[in-house]
């Protein structure tokens, strides 16, 4: 046996792709899925990798690669599958050539997402097989199983991860890569052009395929009974579970009999019936939706699931144990009230300046998905709606259509560069086409920052590390018909104030490209001389506090009892930012003397 290594679930997906002989991998970054492609690209001599501008394109490229004969994986967070759903539904009809596995990284508990949708439902909806690993080792193994099922049954496969699997590490035994050649490409329009005449036949074939897949699931080694003999209230208990929930249930009830489902769609109902017959009572432990429970209920198998297990939020062994036994964990007690520690825009963040000015000038602001969502927090308070990738622009336009042209003129849609490329471009074209008065502000920090710095079409670098063409936001805006285009320096308060005052008076569609690199891209290279506050000059006006910079804190009082400020030299990034020195009315803030 080879030595075991510690891999996160995401690293295990990457290793699984490598070992399964995958040729092409595509994704759009999104927590908790991002590290999948970041790790696949370590095998770039064997696997072509790309960041697509969004999840739909990622699937379409993956689909094309599969048609072209390549073994392919495409990865995304759960809400990304909403974006990618359109080609995926058709993909279930067309089938594959090279094996294709879609990895969805769900986020029960919403650690960094806008909802906790349960994407197991998508497998059922799209009519494709669903694999649910429970450890890093299984994750690696299931990627290969997925590729094999995909090729054997001519179907895309959905592999469902969740945050606690993606971001947990466990021991994994490594194997060699299975080298498989890219399959032949033969044009096959009857199977790959989904016009109604073809699709009607493909749908029939799909239903037939599902029957075969169901038989496979009944006998798959991924679905197995773990013997146990545990009684509760005098009844022998059998627990059905899948994914990370299985690990919580197993820890909560280590002696119980289990049916562990690794392939839960098509559902192996005969196996479940056999299992249910062998125990007195069936418990179903699953996070979020009653996906397994519904299958049992439809088949008339009595079970206890969501009647006891919470539907909202993520589970734990403690929650699972308490749900059935009402056993409270022994603890030392709780902390009592403490100041919260909310996430904050970094010191030196290029988003801070424009939010400061927009807040001061009382704009209505819609915002979008990224670091800059944090601008909704006091004291910046920029963002009255935040819905999904790209929605800021449509929301702003809709507000105008409801409330009139003047309202539109006072409305800014804030959207990051990567989010803009993901799904803001169509919104911008619409703002021009439908004669809007709103301003779109692209907060161009030259990277996908929130997820930890991924390249995108606006950065001019590919995931493979090659230089490439770079999207020009201004030219794009001009081409779609935006009437007024401004470029601003994200760290120049005076210029930002001038431009934002101007757009308040300007009719027609407008774009601001607010340029300032994410400070974390450069911070390790910078020789930082921090700013400092001269306590003699500080009058306690509080202007610098309105920037919400974590480096600025209260340091003493004025004679009238107002808070003076002080700057933490460890956090301050110095002249790369300098917003505080610009907003200080008494010149009390300047670079520290060496």
């Amino acid at each position: 046996m080879s030595e075991k290594v510690l891999l996160s679930g995401n690293e295990a997906v990457a290793r699984g792709a490598f070992e399964a002989g995958v040729h092409v991998a595509t994704a759009y970054p999104g927590t908790p899925s991002t590290e999948i492609l970041e790790n696949v690209v370590k095998y770039k001599e064997h696997i072509y990798c790309e960041w697509a501008p969004n999840e739909k394109v990622a699937v379409e490229v993956g689909q094309g690669a599969s048609f072209g004969g390549a073994r392919t994986i495409t990865a995304m967070k759960h809400v990304g599958v909403n974006v990618a759903a359109d080609p995926m539904f058709s993909f279930a009809y067309t089938g594959v050539n090279g094996g294709f596995v879609l990895i969805t990284a769900d986020d029960p508990g919403m650690h960094s997402s806008q909802n906790e949708q349960d994407n197991r439902r998508y497998a059922q909806f799209m009519k494709i097989p669903l694999l649910e690993p429970t450890t890093s080792q299984e994750t690696k193994d299931y990627v290969k199983e997925g590729i094999e099922i995909s090729e054997e049954f001519n179907t895309p496969v959905l592999l469902r991860m969740s945050t606690r699997l993606c971001h947990s590490l466990g021991l994994v035994e490594l194997k060699e890569r299975e080298e498989v050649p890219v399959k032949n490409y033969v044009p096959d329009p009857k199977n790959r052009v989904v016009i109604p005449a073809h699709a009607k036949l493909l749908h029939v074939a799909l239903e037939k395929r599902l029957k075969h897949l169901k038989e496979y699931a009944e006998n798959s080694r991924m679905n197995r009974i773990i013997d146990g003999d545990w009684t509760f209230d005098g009844k022998k208990i059998g627990i059905i579970s899948s994914g990370i929930s299985f690990q919580y249930a197993r820890e909560a009830f280590p002696e119980a009999k289990f049916l562990k489902l690794g392939m839960s769609f098509p559902f192996p109902i005969d196996l479940a019936k056999k299992f249910a017959d062998s125990v007195d009572e069936v418990w179903v432990v699953e996070e979020n939706e009653p996906f397994i429970e519904e299958q049992l209920v439809f088949a008339g198998i009595p079970c206890i699931g969501k009647a006891k297990i919470p539907l909202c939020n993520e589970l734990s062994q403690t929650i699972v144990r308490k749900a059935f036994t009402e056993e409270e964990p022994a603890t030392v007690g709780v902390s009592g009230d403490l100041p919260p520690r909310p996430p904050v825009l970094c010191p030196g963040c290029p988003h801070r300046g424009i939010f400061y000015v927009a807040h001061k000038l009382k704009f209505t602001a819609t915002t979008d998905i990224g670091c800059y969502t944090l601008g909704i927090m006091p004291p910046l308070e920029c963002g009255e709606t935040c819905i999904c990738m790209g929605a800021s622009i449509g929301n702003a336009l809709g507000l105008e259509k409801a409330r009139g042209k003047d309202f539109g003129k006072n409305t800014i849609a804030f959207i990051g560069d990567s989010t803009f490329v993901h799904s803001g471009m169509t919104g911008l074209a619409n703002a021009a086409y439908n004669k809007s008065n709103i301003t779109t502000a692209i907060l161009d920090n030259s990277i996908t920052a929130m997820t930890g710095h991924q390249e995108h079409p606006g950065t001019g670098i590919t995931l493979m590390g090659e230089e490439t063409t770079k999207l020009d936001y201004g030219k794009l805006a001009e081409a779609v018909g935006i009437e007024h285009i401004f470029y601003t320096d994200a760290f120049d308060i005076e210029q930002l104030t001038e431009v934002l005052k101007k757009i308040k008076e300007l009719d027609g569609s407008k774009l601001i490209v607010n340029q300032g690199r994410c400070i974390l891209l450069d911070i390790k290279k910078l020789k930082i001389i921090p700013f400092e506050v001269d306590p003699e000059k500080c009058i306690g006006c509080g202007m610098c506090f309105k920037l919400g910079c974590p480096a600025i804190s209260v340091g003493g009082k004025t004679e009238k009892g107002q808070n003076k400020s002080t700057i933490d030299p460890i956090f301050c990034v110095g002249e790369s930012c300098g917003l505080c020195s610009q907003v200080c009315p008494t010149d009390a803030i300047s670079l520290a003397k060496k």
Partner: protein
């Protein structure tokens, strides 16, 4: 699952918590134990609360430490120790770095950093082992080694020998920093 040992690591983004949990997982791996490690970073790259769960033993199922399950809370920041105190198993140990990092509502002057954190921890947990981690790390060569100082302090309560710890540190930090980190580890170990 009484034979699983659980270490709940907490602090603030940028303090080197992820490296600490990596070294701890590595030493457990070297010892031949089964391991699960789970991390939640919070939404910001910096300044938010960071939590790491490390569990090891003959067989580990769940990757997370639920309330009342931590044998040790290792806190890089005082208030974060108290914030997560419910994770502690009754009778478990709390090891606290003496550093205070004021969160946004405190820096903005809206709230005060509580002055009685250690007393409150002691009232709940019975005792708290406080470590001047930043000071010791500076003495070892750099404040960035605070995480390894704290692992040194933690090592007094874990069943791994110095040789295993040294191998784990060598496997996780760049070669040129190994000696300094070994020094930091020894200082932390001696501080309890």
């Amino acid at each position: 699952m009484n034979d699983v040992f659980s270490v709940f690591i907490t602090g603030v983004g940028g303090q080197g918590i992820l490296l600490a949990s990596k070294v701890l997982s590595e030493v457990a791996r070297i010892s031949g134990a089964d391991i699960k490690k789970s991390e939640i970073h919070g939404m910001a790259q910096r300044g938010g609360s960071v939590v790491g769960h490390v569990k090891f033993g003959p067989k580990v199922h769940s990757p997370i430490i639920a309330d009342g399950e931590a044998d040790v809370i290792l806190a890089f920041e005082k208030m974060e120790a108290l914030r997560h105190i419910a994770a502690l198993k009754p009778g478990g140990k709390v090891i606290v770095n003496e550093q205070e990092i004021p969160p946004a509502p405190v820096t903005a002057g809206l709230m005060e950093y509580p002055g009685d954190i250690i007393d409150r921890i002691k009232a709940l947990a019975g005792e708290a082992v406080t470590i001047p981690g930043n000071e010791l790390a500076k003495q070892a060569g750099t404040i960035r080694a605070t995480n390894i100082v704290l692992l040194g302090a933690l090592s007094n309560y874990l069943p791994f020998d110095d040789g295993q710890w040294h191998e784990a540190i060598e496997n996780c930090v760049p070669q040129k920093f190994v000696d300094m980190n070994l020094k930091a580890f020894a200082m932390g170990k001696g501080a309890v």
